[in-house]
């Protein structure tokens, strides 16, 4: 029979108990008990009782612990850690200056690191809050060479009814004006998702308040109801606990709030909309025909795979159903469906976007790491100096028999305490810095950077790492033999004083290396930051306005009524001075795109956007005709089957030949359309994808059109006159007039946020590292370049002034204040910008290159725009 031994974990715990000189006796007792119980009742019983006995020793520790614990006892860790902390606090109080500098230095580094991480966390790590994401999918239409996100509502309705293994729901996104009273002055435009009744219950289990929308809400004629997102509830409704039952006016129509979503839920996107509205209410908000089974409006589809069904099996079956349906419909683009494609609904980003995000995360984390390394080296230098000044005390402790391990622990406790206090200071910095960084990065309103558990975990880990990292080198140095030397009086070796200098030189070397890496990174990241905000979209977005009227429920705006409205509006706007061009289109630039065909080229997927427009669209936007011609107003009126493609598509699909006269079928299997022209490339849909693959066709449905206006000068100055011209046509219709540049800025928000984070990370240590190097003498000031020593600041002032000189007023040597220094030209742009924003106009400094960057989005202006500028 094999001899059993007590459980390892319990023995480990036993070693931690402070049992003192009774340890051996107690361990033997416990072992004897274990052996006896094994014999009598079996190993399992003995094991559990062993655990119970070990824990009982802790419960009765007052009676079982000896008065004095001995060296080497595991319990010492627990019993002496408290004493180390007290001792550390006493010692640190002795040198408050060093401690203050250390804590502020560490706190700043930890604060900046955590702030950046908390924004990164909000951008990259937060999920969409979809329950059981493995069975929730977005359903794309699959073709031979790509896929499309868009279904017609009629397609969706048929698919939903025929599908037995996947519960399907549909949604479409749009912007609405909201107000909290019927005719409020202060209204704002927010994003809303129009969803089918089962959308929310399909994706998530419960609401934070009230209830979700149900299929009963998604019936034409049902009382208008909405579910607001948690973010909107907090920001706009002041976290009102009695919000359920309140009324909000969407485009002038009253909707009752029936619930609030959970905080982490954002649906199938990474940024939650303001609210979810039943899709059956779409026509109530915007006019047009209701969403019945024959509606041809584009929607996206999500599904929940039924329990016990394999995703692949469900995909195949749904694909077969979809192919059958598509064959009976004439609405689709004409290309034959090959099936459907499932994409995880919990993943709001595409694979390539995830790759980019991972790269950004890696870069930012590396930079944070370097920043912390720099802070640690700084603090280590300070602690090293402090340890050197305490050499006599440390030597005495060694002489009295303290072990080196004990001393290292004591020194590490000191630095760890510093790290934790620095972490607390860092938390304060974080709270202060996060909103500033969010403003600098122009993060969107829905952006939620409130620290969550990940941020606190990061902060704690970083504080501990910084504390230990800063204390390791001084502790290692403190246990060297020469600390005994001071006790020997003058008998110590003469060269011992040089040793810490060599050691510190090593630290400074590390500092220099880290600073150099950070300088290079800062340069690269700044370049990336500038490039992220200087995307060439292919047209001048600065001078474009869009007008979106909200046709209300009571209006009689059917196709004919809407056409009459737009005809009058176009005529009036064209007559306005300062208007260069006007056109209607389904989607103004960066104002949405529902009709998308996705293609695969090598390993990259790209989107082809379909733009139904009027004939004047090209001149209004500023697209150059490269080949052929654009369609005429006559062709638009006749709904001719002609199309214009962008240069990018022409290059891709007609690399050798001439696309003019060819069928569009070659690109999208869109039978019947003939290509009549090629226009210059422009990114008008989603900036994130940087796809300039566009197909322009004559506009058919005027009900969903929006107006695009090109101004001669600043578009903002044109807004009042446009409003005055259009509003009188029907005073009941609310007009949303926005600049295209605003849409572009929203599209730019995420890359700019990430680039700013990376840039801020790179720049702050750059300033810090440069200061450190100067202080350490490794980097000379530009003014004193060369080998000449820098003159002392006071040396240029004459010590003796002649009586004549005394009568002259002394030269003004006013030094800049703290704000001035922070905003001064020597500081990094991000810091100056932060201080400038923080203190506003009271800060009288030169802003240098901080003027609002108008270059954003301007890109390469088209020839006519350049002419205008002249």
């Amino acid at each position: 029979m094999t001899r059993q031994s007590p459980p390892v974990l319990a023995r480990f715990l036993l070693r931690l108990w402070p049992l003192g000189e009774r340890r051996s006796e107690i361990e033997a007792d416990l072992f004897e008990l274990f052996a006896t119980r094994c014999e009598r009742r079996g190993v399992r019983y003995a094991t559990w009782r062993y655990y119970g006995d070990v824990l009982s020793l802790w419960r009765h520790r007052g009676r079982t612990r000896s008065a004095e614990s001995h060296a080497g006892d595991g319990g010492r860790l627990l019993s002496t850690a408290g004493r180390d902390v007290v001792y550390a606090a006493r010692l640190l109080r002795r040198s408050p200056g060093v401690v203050a500098v250390t804590i502020v230095g560490l706190g700043l580094a930890i604060g900046v690191g955590t702030s950046v991480f908390s924004l990164l966390n909000a951008v990259a790590f937060r999920g969409t809050g979809v329950d059981d994401p493995s069975t929730a999918v977005r359903v794309f239409r699959g073709y031979k060479n790509g896929s499309s996100t868009s279904w017609t509502y009629a397609d969706y309705a048929q698919l939903r009814d025929a599908s037995s293994r996947v519960a399907l729901e549909a949604y479409l996104r749009d912007a609405v004006w909201i107000a909290d009273r019927p005719h409020a002055e202060s209204i704002e435009s927010v994003s809303a998702w129009f969803v089918t009744g089962g959308y929310l219950p399909t994706l998530t289990k419960s609401a934070a308040l009230g209830r979700f929308l149900t299929p009963a809400d998604d019936v034409i004629g049902a009382p208008p109801a909405i579910v607001v997102s948690h973010r909107f509830w907090v920001r706009r409704l002041d976290s009102d606990p009695a919000v359920v039952g309140r009324t909000l006016w969407l485009n002038g129509v009253a909707f009752t709030i029936v619930g609030v979503s959970q905080r982490q839920f954002s649906g199938t996107t990474d940024v939650p909309p303001a609210f979810w509205v039943p899709i059956s209410s779409y026509h109530v908000v915007y006019g047009g025909r209701p969403f019945d089974r024959a509606a041809r409006a584009g929607v996206s589809v999500v599904g929940r795979i039924q329990p016990g069904v394999e995703a692949k099996q469900a995909e195949t079956e749904l694909g077969a159903i979809a192919v059958g349906i598509a064959a009976t419909l004439t609405d689709s683009t004409g290309e034959l469906l090959a099936g459907v494609r499932f994409v995880p609904a919990g993943d709001a980003r595409s694979r390539s976007e995830n790759r980019t995000m991972a790269l950004v995360v890696a870069i930012v984390l590396v930079v944070i790491g370097l920043l912390l390394l720099l802070a640690c080296v700084n603090v280590a230098n300070l602690l090293l100096a402090s340890a050197w000044s305490r050499q006599r005390e440390i030597g005495l402790q060694l002489a009295l028999g303290a072990s080196r391990g004990r001393l290292v622990r004591q020194l590490l406790t000191e630095s760890l305490s510093l790290g934790l206090v620095g972490g607390a200071v860092g938390l304060v910095f974080t709270v202060w810095l996060v909103p500033i960084l969010a403003v600098i990065a122009r993060a969107p309103l829905e952006f939620d950077a409130t620290p969550d558990f990940r941020v606190y975990l990061f902060l704690t880990a970083v504080s501990i790492a910084a504390g230990l990292g800063a204390g390791l080198a001084p502790a290692r140095h403190a246990i060297r033999d020469e600390f005994i030397a001071p006790l020997k009086g003058a008998g110590g070796r003469a060269d011992q004083a040089a040793r810490p200098r060599r050691f510190r030189s090593g630290l400074i070397g590390v500092q220099a290396a880290a600073s150099l890496v950070l300088l290079v990174l800062a340069a690269l990241l700044t370049r990336g930051m500038v490039r992220a905000t200087q995307v060439d979209v292919g047209f001048d977005a600065d001078r474009l306005l869009t007008v979106s009227p909200a046709f209300g429920r009571d209006s009689t705006y059917d196709a004919a009524g809407t056409k009459a409205y737009w005809d009058l509006a176009l005529e009036r706007v064209r007559a306005l001075p300062g208007v260069r061009g006007v056109s209607l289109a389904h989607y103004p630039p960066f104002g949405g795109a529902h009709s998308v065909t996705i293609r695969q080229r090598a390993n990259n997927r790209y989107s082809i956007y379909h733009h139904p427009t009027q004939a004047e669209y090209f001149a209004t936007i500023g697209l150059r005709v490269v080949r052929g011609r654009t369609y005429t107003p006559q062709e638009v009126a006749e709904r001719a089957k002609v199309a214009v493609i962008s240069e990018a598509l022409a290059r891709e699909y007609f690399p050798q030949g001439d696309p003019i006269g060819q069928s569009l079928q070659r690109i999208t299997k869109d039978s019947g359309y003939q290509i009549i022209g090629v226009v210059s490339d422009a990114i008008t849909a989603r900036l994130r994808e940087l796809s300039a693959a566009n197909i322009y066709k004559p506009m058919e449905d005027i009900e969903v059109a929006r107006m695009i206006i090109r101004a001669h000068g600043r578009p903002e100055s044109l807004t009042p006159s446009v409003r005055n011209a259009i509003q009188p046509i029907d005073p009941r219709i609310r007009l949303d007039i926005t600049s295209v540049n605003e849409g572009l800025q929203e599209e730019l928000a995420e890359p700019r946020t990430l680039a700013t984070l990376a840039g801020a990370c790179g720049h702050l240590p750059r300033a810090r590292g440069r200061g450190d190097l100067r202080r350490d003498g490794l980097c000379s000031r530009p003014a004193h370049a060369g080998d000449q020593p820098a003159p002392r600041a006071r040396s240029d002032r004459p010590r003796y002034r002649t009586p004549a000189a005394r009568r002259q007023p002394a030269p003004c040597r006013r030094r800049p204040g703290v704000r001035g220094r922070l905003c001064g030209p020597g500081q990094p742009a991000v810091l100056r910008c932060a201080v400038w924003r923080r203190f506003g106009g009271s800060c009288r400094v030169r802003y240098g290159n901080l003027r609002p960057a108008r270059r954003v989005g301007c890109g390469r202006p088209p020839p006519h725009a350049t002419r205008d500028a002249r």
Binding site: E25, T36, G52, H60
Partner: protein, 108 residues
């Protein structure tokens, strides 16, 4: 804190030490109390009770010899003192008197 008096568990422990034949150590005491009372008794509670009894002067302890069975480790041996024995007997006597009174239906 029960001062110089005996608590229930202390009484069990004291009687176990006495019953096991002196001198004895914590393991047999724990097993004796567990067997006698029919409830699980942790070794920590026994150590604590023995320590309190020692503080009150009811038992005294000495370190025994190291034995091979315990891996060459010594055991702490306990022995009931005269004061401990007297206190236990007094307690027993008081209880007997009270039970007799209950049995006879006498009232104070």
């Amino acid at each position: 804190m029960k001062g110089d008096r005996l608590g229930e568990f202390e009484e069990f422990t004291l009687l176990a030490v006495r019953a096991l034949g002196e001198p004895t150590y914590a393991v047999p005491v724990q097993q004796y109390v567990e067997d006698s009372t029919g409830r699980n008794v942790s070794i920590g509670a026994v150590y604590a009770a023995l320590a309190r009894l020692e503080d009150k002067g009811f038992v005294r302890s000495t370190m025994g010899e190291a034995t091979a069975r315990r891996g060459g480790k010594a055991k702490r041996l306990f022995q009931v003192t005269a004061l401990g024995l007297r206190t236990a007997r007094d307690l027993h006597r008081v209880r007997e008197k009270m039970w007799e009174a209950i049995a006879e239906g006498r009232r104070p």
